[in-house]
Amino acid sequence: MKRKDVLSTDAPDLTAEACAWLAQLETGKLSKEDMAAFREWIQRSPRHYEEIRRLAELSLEVNVLTGMAEPLKEAAKRKHIVRRSGKTSRGGNAFWRWGAFSLAGTCALAFAVFSQLRPPAPAMPEPIYLATAVGETQDVSLEDGSRVKLNTDSKIEVEFAQASRSVYLEKGEAFFDVAHDTSRPFTVYAGDRSVTAVGTAFSVRWTDEELVVTVSEGKVAYGRGLSRSAADQIVQVSASAPPPAAALLGAGQRLEVSSLSNAETVERLPDNVMSRELAWRSGFLDFEDAPLQEVVREMQRYTPQRIEIADQETADLRFGGVFRIGQTDAFFEALELSFGVEVESTEDNRLILRSVD
């Protein structure tokens, strides 16, 4: 206490200084100059030494927070409806929850878990929100046995009722392996479109530019004009009615809807293209002889860094390769080493690609 009083009245910034040094030491890679500066700082006064030691001990004490890992994840996955299965992508452990709900919410939940205060059981199952951060994928098993794989930067809401299974794709891309249940149609809503299946596997991707539905097994019905609230009404009014379907898509088919023109195109995908399109499910991105511009547009979804192409020549470059999701560095390395592209990273965290002349 004596020490603390001295610190708080005499040198209000000493704690901050010590914290800054400690953080740097914890990173572990101090340059020679940094080391010399640290030595000078800690030896300048016994108070410096004592403060940083106190903080280092506090920092060790804070490791007790590892005990929060479980309740946080429990809270995040809301075990009663969704259980996690499989693995998340490398480094992607549980961070999807930040997109899903604020940490403050998680915090409240975690407290509830910890103090054993059970929230009153909801009469209706609450909707589940799932989200992934940029560069991350997530595997989830739903209570009906269906599986969802979320691609990078995606968000869905899952709402299961007695006679319907609804998923709202709010953004991004998700692959659905739907458990067969003819009495409960499984409908994915994206924008003003919907895709309904009873037992099949398909992916839906919804970005600013387009809506893409790719079917790998079975059949789905797709339709439009059903807004969310209309869908809610259907669920409430007549429990069995799936949204009116406009057309059917079969295995190997892909529907693309441009958000600009609203034009729909359906095409049959050759098997190799299909497997490439869905490679992200296994944690890979697969490109073959694709214009760099397109490749970059795809890669952009997996990294928070802004990627820009400086010249047309580079944009038109034909590119191929297989990359692990979350390891965008390998992509840039390949560009530099094998494709003669210079990758410049700027102060404000952009990456600029230009051809080396």
Binding site: S8, T15, I42, L58, V62, L65, A104
Partner: protein, 194 residues
């Protein structure tokens, strides 16, 4: 169920390893959930069963399953503690001669769980990104480099958040403990555990 101490002990002895075998897959999933991406799950699982077998030799373990999970948790945390301790050792090498490095520890003011919730309250008061950094670091044991990769920020930004987070925690705790009338700054104390 009625049984004498010996038979109970025998059952426990035949127990912990078979429980481990039975639980291994689930335990590994659990470990993967609570430890940083870079950790070696094999190592942690092995350390867990070694410690459990050791403990079983010394005393009766009535709830082997719960016990295994408790040990697993401790193993994960010990790895983090080890890093923190070696940093303290490093800092203590700079101890001026006038300072005694063996000050007595203050008695436990709050038990382990309360302490954790107290820290958690401090963490909850942090601004969002700072909070994310701090949770990654202190809850999931990520290194600074892993954190910056995860959040797409630079290592020096991570350091700034770590420093700011620690500062807030220490302010929060000092204030809280001052209010609660103990008047003593927060000091480390013996851990509960296996």
């Amino acid at each position: 169920m009625v049984s004498d101490a010996n038979s109970q002990k025998r059952r426990a002895e035949s127990g912990i390893f078979s429980v481990f075998r039975e639980q291994e897959a689930a335990l590994r999933r659990f470990l993967r959930r609570i430890s940083p991406a870079s950790s070696d799950i094999d190592d942690i699982a092995q350390e867990t069963i070694l410690r459990a077998l050791q403990a079983e030799r010394e005393r009766d373990i009535l709830q082997p399953k719960a016990y295994l999970y408790m040990i697993a948790r401790n193993v994960v945390r010990d790895a983090m503690d080890k890093k923190s301790r070696s940093l303290i050792d490093y800092i203590e090498d700079f101890a001026p001669e006038s300072v005694s490095s063996n000050e007595p520890l203050v008695e436990d003011q709050v038990d382990g769980r309360q302490r954790m919730l107290l820290f958690w309250e401090a963490v909850a008061s942090l601004p969002q990104q700072c909070q994310q950094v701090f949770v990654l670091k202190k809850v999931y044991g990520y290194s600074h480099v892993e954190i910056s990769r995860q959040l797409g920020i630079s290592v020096s930004t991570t350091e700034k958040h770590v420093a700011a987070g620690l500062k807030r925690c220490v302010d929060f705790l000092d204030r809280r403990l001052a209010v609660s009338g103990t008047g003593e700054e927060f000091r480390r104390s013996a851990r509960t555990g296996d």
